[in-house]
Amino acid sequence: MTGGSTTGDDGSVPVTAGSTAPDSATGGTGTAPTAAGTTAGQAVIPVAAPALAAAWPLWEVFVRSSRGLSHVHAGSLHAPDADMAVRNARDLYTRRNEGVSLWVVPASAIIASDPDAKGRFFESPQGKDYRHATYYTKSEGVKHL
């Protein structure tokens, strides 16, 4: 049985950024549905959960499918608290043997990068081929290199 911790068995907090940010967390009420073009330019936007009477908050679920692999975002669910969230995650996302470990994270706790800052955030690595082994063609054919 898993304890009250939501950070998983190796104690590391699942840091999410950019493209790995879970869907629900990044799409909730933070970017209001009304809004053609409301995504204003803050670089970091915490997303609040919707507050309906007695509505259970949203959680993001990460599943480790077997030892040696990372936890991967599997989906979301609703639960009243962390203890129930990790149990609901077990019941929902591992009933076909999908996992050996689970993380649940309140969707509202995930900080996502701003899609409007795509250029500012993600342009820099483009074109820096020299960070990749394939850039170095002259040594091709040399063994064990």
Partner: protein
């Protein structure tokens, strides 16, 4: 390419043109968002309402193996509804809102679940025909342009792979069983055939929303294309059962390279859609009842969570169960 130098619309159009995926926080046209919320929530409602006709037979399943399979299948449908609600929630509509719309009778779901399950053979026919039609619809949706929808569909399609097979095998057992079982199977196919064909939606010329959905890469094939493909599959499969489809007009049209079928009663379809099907009010009442009966439970859990958060702080909730 820099996002800052393109308008939201240009960026969106570029994604669609490149057959790339739109993600939750991307700018998207209001119509696209609305179409998705409508389609995904309808799809979710269909899974949830669709639990009822089959749950109707869980307590009476004729063998323990079949009981387990049926329970697992109906349970899967709850899961599928849940995955889909989650996908819709990424567009800014909370699940509670969608549930409220459903039980208020303001939302649509697949008409087919307003037909009653009268015999055990209906479990077979639903698995084979209804899930079969659903799978034809759903496989292309795995490539829907909206990322969360496509990802939910990938999971659903994987899980559903057993649904159609178990239905077919129920019918196969019945077809090879006693005369009464065989009659039961044929009767179920007769009743579910036309409604399952109508699951693909109205003919293309009467489906105004389809064209826009296809332009947005939400829908990949037209209603009639998918329906024709489905007819081509089941016309062969029914031979394995040694039973027949209640349609003598099925034929392959060499010219159009499409399977054709006899006329469908679209008047009945719109009647059921308008709420005048055999089980519409029963299905909604049952969902409303479950939701309302569960309110005190949801409130209790929320109140407990609030109290724990207030008194001990996050992460230090109950020390397990005291059970160890």
């Amino acid at each position: 390419m820099s996002g800052e130098t393109m308008s939201g619309q240009e960026h969106f159009d570029a994604l669609i043109a490149a057959d790339a995926r739109v993600e939750p926080r991307d700018w998207m046209p209001e119509g696209y968002r609305k179409t998705l919320v409508r389609q995904i929530s309808q799809h979710a409602h269909s899974e949830i309402i669709g639990m009822q006709p089959e749950a109707n037979w869980i307590t009476r399943a004729p063998s323990l193996k079949r009981k387990a399979i049926l329970m697992a299948k109906v349970q899967d449908e709850a899961g599928h509804g849940l995955y889909l609600y989650s996908a819709a929630e990424t567009l800014g509509t909370p699940r509670d809102q969608m549930t409220a719309d459903l039980i208020a009778g303001k939302a649509r779901y697949s008409s087919i679940f307003n037909y009653p399950t009268l015999t055990w053979a209906d479990m077979g026919a639903i698995g084979w025909l209804v899930d079969g039609a659903a799978i034809c619809n759903q496989v292309p949706l795995c490539r829907a342009s909206y990322g969360p929808y496509g990802r939910a569909m990938v999971r659903i399609c994987k899980e559903e792979s057993f649904h159609q097979r178990q239905g077919f095998e129920i019918l196969l057992e019945l077809a090879n069983g006693t005369a009464a079982q065989r009659d039961m199977a044929q009767d179920a196919i007769n009743r579910w055939y036309a409604p399952s064909l109508m699951m693909f939606g109205p003919p293309d010329e009467d489906s105004p929303n389809s064209r826009q959905s296809m332009a947005w890469n939400i829908k990949r094939f037209s209603n009639d294309e998918l329906r024709s493909r489905f007819v081509g599959m089941i016309v062969e499969q029914v031979k394995v059962l040694g039973l027949t489809l209640p349609d003598t007009d099925i034929r392959y049209n060499e010219e159009t390279e499409r399977w054709e079928h006899g006329p469908l009663d679209w008047k009945e379809f719109s009647e059921v859609l308008a709420g005048r099907g055999p089980c519409n009010s029963q299905r909604l009442a049952r969902r409303r009842e479950a939701h309302e009966d569960g309110a005190w439970v949801r409130e209790a859990a929320a109140a407990y969570a609030a109290r724990q958060a207030g008194s001990v702080g996050a992460g230090a909730v109950s020390n397990e169960t005291g059970a160890a």
